[in-house]
Symmetry: C2
Subunit: 201 residues, 2 copies
DNA sequence: CTATCATGTTACCGATCGGTACGTTGCGTT
DNA sequence: AACGCAACGTACCGATCGGTAACATGATAG
């Protein structure tokens, strides 16, 4: 429920609250770049050019807004993932490598700060926190898919390879923000290639 | 400067403020388990059984206390790293694998929440923040050493392998807290083994 | 024209944030 | 015994936290 107050979704599509959209866009940007705990609701509404009650009419709490941001991030993540998959039909090795190459490329941009879902999980260790629930679900599914793709590649130990690819990916996310341009994240696709080929033998 | 108020280190070793030690121990525990931004100074002093002025007599600010915590974490990190190195003299491959195996093992404990330095860098994106400075320095040195070890192994592309090992390690840190027991972090040493051997060919 | 209702605004809440002024206590020195 | 001084505690600061009550506005439907 990104918007728990919308009782009639069909009607609200037409003239959806302009404020809610602006708020979510601003929150998305600030949360990603500076961290969720670091950003207060005052800064969000100020940047969005709206006021606090506008925020709390569309989102029941800051946690709800946070979860909405992460759910949007989750959707866009799978769009990017599925793009890489669709680009290489029937070739899971190329699919994974295409996705990792794209992450490696994005990781070299100065504005890149890794995966918003991963970062949120670091910020919120409590397992029942709305933000963490979204993140964990995304990562569970990602693990499932990577393992399935490793199996489709014909790996000797598909779960081992799938987990290895996940480790490389998460490592790239984190290294990107630790090292910035020129960091190890650049090497993620090449290392994945080596690991995959070593796992197929 | 973990303790900016200590003007005479030699003398303060003997009868250092009892409160400062308790505070640092408590901060270390709370910061690691719950995150730095999530913990207020009030909670630290309350848990430590002291009062706020005692904290601010030994640490000039919360950021200073945070940096002290991370510097201690950094020291203990290199102790663990050097233990693995010392266990396999002249065998960089075994050194790396021993360290990663240990991380993989620790990652299965419920209380494990990855690397405190990595987590701090996620919490503090600003490059001039005291916490981030300590973290970035640690990671730069770690990258340098892993690349040197990859070179000593005789890797065809030592920087590539060193970065790959760093990606696996950071991925293990993050995956440990994302998935907990049974997560992909368990597979870090085995995947590193495959990657190393593939890089030596 | 007017009643309706979602959206927007002003002004405020108690709680907690990091941080401090100032008085008290306890111990070693002479 | 009286001093000196470092370490400790009480009580407080302004700022900001997430969140809300009450009112204004503006488009739409009858």
């Amino acid at each position: 429920m990104p918007n728990t107050k919308n009782l009639d979704p069909a009607a609200s599509v037409e003239h959806a609250p302009r404020a809610a959209e602006k708020i979510l866009n601003v929150a998305r940007d600030l949360f990603y770049r500076q961290g969720i705990r670091a950003i207060g609701v005052d800064e969000i509404v100020k940047t969005a050019g709206v006021t606090k009650p506008s925020l709390y009419r569309s989102f029941s709490s800051k946690d709800d807004l946070t979860a909405s941001y992460l759910k949007q991030y989750d959707r866009e993540f799978w769009e990017r993932f599925d793009e890489a998959v669709a680009a290489h039909p029937g070739d899971p090795r190329a699919q994974v490598l295409a996705f990792l190459a794209r992450v490696g490329k994005r990781s070299q941009k100065a504005s890149y700060r890794g995966c918003g879902l991963t970062n949120a999980a670091v910020e919120y260790p409590e397992h029942d926190h709305p933000a963490r629930i979204v993140s964990e679900e995304n990562k569970r599914e990602l693990r499932r898919r990577l393992r399935a793709m490793a199996k489709a590649m014909g790996a000797a130990e598909p779960d081992m390879l799938g987990d290895g690819l996940l480790l490389l990916l998460e490592g790239a996310y984190i290294s990107a923000q630790l090292f910035g341009t020129g960091g190890p994240a650049r090497a993620v696709a090449r290392n994945a290639e080596l690991l995959i080929d070593a796992s197929l033998a």
